[in-house]
Amino acid sequence: MPRGLLQISLLCCLLSVGAAAGQTDRLPTIVSTHLCADQLALSLAAPEQIISLSYKSQDPKRSRYAVSAQAYPANRGSSEEIIQFKPNIVLASRRWKNHPQQQQFDMLDIRVIVVPLSNSWQEVFVNTQWLADQVGRTERGHTLILEVQRRLQALRESESMLGKPEKSLLYLRPNGGSSGEGTYIDMIIEALGFRNHASTLGLKGWGQLALENIVMYPPDYFLLTGHVRDNTHGKSRLSRHPLLQELLDQHPVLILPSDTGYCADWQIIDAAEYLAEQMIVMILANGKDQ
């Protein structure tokens, strides 16, 4: 390479790095106070934007991004911490929005953004793009949405292999909790090509199912999860009942582990793919007509 061309190339590289650095400088800084917001911040924001994430994000039992999250200082969502970090944006849950120190944040020009929850794939795309716009990463949001759409399409195409549109699947937590239409679990079940059995049993949104109803109208498949909060002795009594154990022995069971920390946002596609893999393993082990 001629020496002059090399010098021009180096200059261009330096200029582009400088421009990128300048862009990062202009991007709003972020403190996230909620596990789902943490995971969105890590997937949408530039690393330099993130000042702090919630302490839960560093707990491998709750967060899938525990290792990445450990690169940032943890917070417990207190006002003092927020004021000390002085971010441009605080990502929070709806409950946190009612923080009594809200006025102080307004005075310090700290904007609180409530992370939106999605109950349909369309809402996932809209909400992801909206949040990406808010944190100044429109292009990143667009890329992420295209990636999720591609993966969703691939999953739907693989339904022909999974081939269970006529089969029902019941999402069941240890406390009898389940989810009907209008929940992110319903989106996962739909993406996997199953009928949501909780909806068939008349459940809309989140709620609880009685063991009697499950015994009387059992699903074709079970989807179990071991949410940390549900595993206490009293709450998990339904899951220990011999009758449910008997049903679980008689029906194929998919498991959504408790340490996966899926939220009602684009990460649902990860959960759907994770379960599709389990389905494939199950089909290979037992035959398609299980």
Binding site: G207, Q208, A210, L211, E212, N213, V215, M216, V228, R229, N231, T232, H233, G234, K235, R237, L238, R240, H241, P242, L243
Partner: protein, 340 residues
């Protein structure tokens, strides 16, 4: 003449309670999220293998509703008879299993198990620790009784023990690692029969049976005790032995029930009060009637909560307190108005 009337009334009372218990049994077996008619119920019990629907009805009846029903009868019966025996022994109308600290010590044992997460190691650890709590309370009370302590000392010791257990339970709640653990302990303390199985019945039944036999066999001595401690002793009643018999009987029956269902209050207090007049104030007659009455009351409370509960379950201890407390107040005021 009046005594003869009452004497005739007593068998009728027990017969009435048995009939009421049978009626409530039928109602209890019919109530649930899945609607099962009486004909389907009979069909499911008699021809369980005829069809898929009948088989599922049979599973619901035998494995879900029947254990709940039997446990309600066992727990209610234990609480009722223990209350009657303790009120007879201590000759104090406020005496009940909770007063001598057995229930609260059993509760403390369970709370310790939940606090340290021991229930995750084995599901049998929680009932075992609850029964250990009840057994320790019993041993302490027996030790006090052996030293020829009077009934007043026994009541006061029970109150102290109960208060200590309540304080330690509060401490565990105060220092609980997470809100989920607090909720777990509180819900357990409120008592429930939901999702109990025959495994739970197997666990508590032998202890309940021994406890009931011990309590039922002390009727004649309790009758003698109504004359006074000195008179009873002159009639051959060994008071320390009677104390031990009732305390051990209460601890076995109530402690093992609490271990399975959580603490359920008011039944042991209200039922003997309600029935005493009907048995002509005979402690021996009150024992069986209170056992039947306790079973009726607890089963009725369980049916009521199942009818009232929608998505969120109402806890059994809450319902028994809601039924028992106003009713108890009514009884107390009624007796007060009768006295000139």
């Amino acid at each position: 003449m009046k005594g003869q009337t009452v004497y005739r009334r007593y068998p009728w009372l027990n017969s009435g309670l048995v009939i009421l218990l049978l009626l409530l049994t039928l109602v209890s077996l019919r109530i649930g999220p899945v609607s099962i008619s009486t004909s389907e119920l009979i069909n499911a019990l008699v021809h369980s293998q005829d069809s898929n629907q009948t088989l599922r009805h049979n599973m619901i009846l035998i494995e879900l509703r029947l254990p709940r029903l039997l446990l309600a009868i066992l727990v209610g019966g234990s609480l009722g008879i223990s209350g009657a025996a303790l009120q007879g022994l201590l000759r104090n109308p406020l005496a009940e299993p909770g007063l001598i600290g057995v229930s609260s010590c059993a509760g403390l044992g369970a709370v310790i198990c939940l606090y340290f997460g021991l229930s995750t190691l084995s599901i049998w650890l929680l009932p075992t620790m609850a029964m250990t709590g009840a057994a320790l309370a019993t041993l302490l009370l027996c030790w006090i009784g052996r030293h020829h302590a009077g009934n007043l000392t026994l009541i006061l010791s029970g109150i102290a023990l109960s208060s200590l257990a309540a304080a330690l339970t509060s401490l565990a709640l105060n220092l609980a690692p997470s809100p989920a653990d607090v909720q777990d302990m509180v819900l357990w303390l409120l008592g429930s029969l939901n999702y109990r199985s025959f495994n739970d019945i197997q666990l508590c039944f032998p202890f309940v049976l021994i406890g009931l036999i011990l309590l039922m066999s002390c009727g004649a001595k309790l009758d003698a005790l109504t004359l006074g401690e000195a008179e009873a002793q002159s009639l051959g009643v060994n008071l320390p032995e009677l104390q031990r018999q009732i305390i051990v009987g209460t601890a076995l029956s109530v402690g093992s029930c609490v271990a399975v269902t959580g603490t359920i209050g008011f039944v042991g207090l209200v039922v003997p009060h309600l029935l005493r007049r009907w048995v002509d104030y005979h402690p021996s007659r009150l024992l069986l009637s209170s056992a039947l009455g306790g079973a009726v009351l607890l089963l009725a409370a369980d049916i009521a909560l199942r009818l009232l509960s929608s998505t969120q379950e109402i806890m059994l201890g809450v319902v028994t307190a809601l039924i028992g407390a106003p009713f108890f107040l009514f009884l107390v005021l009624q007796q007060k108005w009768r006295v000139p």
